[in-house]
């Protein structure tokens, strides 16, 4: 129960995913679904093949180095041979890839090369909930901050509010997030040495730790969503059906919140798809610089250790996430825009 509570955001994310899948299964016609699932299989195959081939030769043949690392200082040729057998490293690459695929079909991502007795699932299972927790705060914050500001900006186009918003969002959009983090650290250190109240500059575990990385992630995302929703709303407000709505004698409130907003959010959904999909790995710098034990850390460690199965796992997981989010976007699109027939 305690574990469940501490992973609450991840649990919520999982429930949302399940609810969405159930909805898709009911609403979407089977042909569309079959096509998309087939597409998903194709994506996973392609992505795993490319990563395997790149990883296999890129990390020095056969992952031997990674395994030697695991074998440690007291390594004997016998132990090494034993390990090579465990991982099947003696086989030619196509056989190794074949075995990998075979296991993948059963949902098995294999064993880590560099961590004794740890499966890839185990390693991902530690990182993913942490990353999801961070995103469970950052993404809503992104949207809650970005979209209303952009919409309001469009309604008041040309006003002081609009021009200010434009400059600020451009600034945040242009600054890389790691620079923001550097500035943030600078300010916090400045406050700390003067014994003023301040936030932690890194770490994970305390609820307060999540504030800064979530806000910094959201600032960059919100800048993007502000600009996007402003453009989208401006475009919609210039449409003739808005003039029709006004000519009908509808109140401005109804014109904006019913007729305009409903159309303006359609392009935002498209942007939301990739945003969500890259959420797991997208916060790379932020997770690393804040020393958060999420997917980014696992990925970096696996690359440094030439731990091919873990790299594979991260890449495949991201690909599946992207594909699922695209499916979600298409379905939501079909619901929002009656002209599109997917549902």
């Amino acid at each position: 129960m305690g574990a469940l509570l501490s992973n609450l955001p991840a649990v919520i994310a999982l429930l949302v995913l399940l609810a969405f899948m159930a909805y898709v299964a009911i609403r979407v016609n089977p042909g569309f679904l079959i096509k998309r699932v087939a597409g998903l299989v194709f994506v996973v195959m392609g992505v795993s093949f490319i990563t395997f081939v790149l990883g296999f030769w890129g990390s020095g043949p056969n992952g031997i180095e990674a395994v030697i690392g695991q074998c440690g200082t007291r390594c004997t040729p016998n132990i090494l041979k034993n390990l090579e057998n465990v991982y099947g490293l003696r086989d030619p690459w196509y056989l190794q890839y074949g075995h990998y695929l075979e296991r993948l079909v059963h949902g098995d991502l294999g064993l880590s090369y560099s961590n004794r007795n740890r499966t890839v699932w185990d390693i991902l299972g530690q990182g993913v909930p942490v990353s999801l927790t961070l995103q469970a705060f950052a993404i809503p914050l992104t949207i809650i901050a970005g979209v209303p500001i952009g919409i309001y900006s469009a309604i008041r186009a040309g006003s002081r509010f609009d021009t200010t918003t434009n400059s600020v969002s451009l600034l945040f959009f242009a600054i890389p997030s790691y620079l923001l983090i550097v500035y943030y650290r600078f300010v916090m250190v400045f406050l700390a040495v003067r014994n003023l109240p301040h936030l932690p500059v890194s770490g994970w575990g305390d609820p307060i730790d999540i504030v800064a990385p979530a806000v910094i992630l959201a600032a960059v995302g919100a800048a993007f969503f502000t600009r996007l929703s402003r453009t989208s709303m401006l475009e919609v407000l210039g449409q003739e059906y808005i003039r029709t709505a006004r000519a009908k004698g509808l109140r401005e409130r109804v014109v904006i919140f019913k007729h305009a907003l409903r159309n303006a959010i359609i392009p935002l959904v498209t942007a939301l798809g990739p945003t969500l999909a890259f959420a797991v790995t997208g916060a790379f710098f932020t997770e690393l610089l804040f020393n958060i034990p999420g997917v980014a850390n696992a990925a970096v460690a696996s690359i440094t250790n030439k731990d091919l199965p873990v790299i594979q796992g991260v890449v495949i997981m991201t690909a599946v996430a992207v594909a699922l989010m695209n499916l979600a976007v298409d379905v939501i699109y079909g619901v929002l825009d009656p002209r599109i027939k997917v549902v």
């Binding site: 059906y241 029709t244 009908k248 004698g249 007729h259 159309n263």
Partner: protein, 322 residues
Amino acid sequence: MADKLLEVQNLRTQFFTRGGVVKAVEDVSFYLDESETLGVVGESGCGKSVTALSVMRLIDRPGKIVGGRILFRGEDVLEMDEEELYELRGGKIAMIFQDPTTSLNPVFTVGNQISEAIKVHLKLDDRAARNRTIEMMERVRIPDARRRYTQYPHEFSGGMRQRVMIAMALSCNPQLLVADEPTTALDVTIQAQVLDLMKALSEEFKTATMLITHDLGVVAGMAQRIVVMYAGRVIEEAPTRALFATPAHPYTQALLSAVPRSSVPRGTRLTAIPGQPPNLVNLPAGCSFAPRCPKVQPRCRVERPELETVGPNQRAACFYPY
């Protein structure tokens, strides 16, 4: 009867753009009686739409109504506050536009879009509004109205969409219907059907119509009187018959000679006049039509002719009419 239904006096509407002040409507005056159909004719860009939108107070930035009065049953639309405008728009004056495809909101059902106006103006509940909507859809002869109530605009053909717009416009019993090129975007065969429908319904509902078009063929069979606009001004005003028989302004004559005289087929466009209309930012001194006028005299280039009576109920802005 003391008051006209609509009386526009010396209306001036301008757009304040980077390229200068566009004088889209300059000193335009006209009127409509109850139940009357008035044709407003002129080449594209002469200010017809801007006039119509000004009457509804729908001119947006960078545009502004800078002068004149718009009296609807004696009340000045330009003095109305927001609340009065909400009642006026859709309730007393309804408008339909050129392109029914872009004029309907793609994400709401047709029934939703018609009934929302009904709920606002006739203060009906959902159910009564729905019934009224379906009744209106039947009256504009949309087949199978009950089923089509829940369909979206993209499921309708162009002609059917314009019928939806007409149903929407007439659903709240307006006294005036402003139709801005209602058939321009439609196929020629559909044009005739939609015009016949508009004519029948405006007679049935006793709605006055301001029918805007660049197509003389459209107004010939519809309007009792015609106002001809050029470069943001009214240059001739006459009963339809007089205008076709004895056009006074050389521009009107040119418009008419551009189409076969005896039968004016629908779909005839007013494009056969040589030259371009003037730039509305820098209008030439004198008569705006002078540079294109076949009968131009030296006086026309220095002095602007005012609208003056040239025949029974006929007025023209020309020093040398007929």
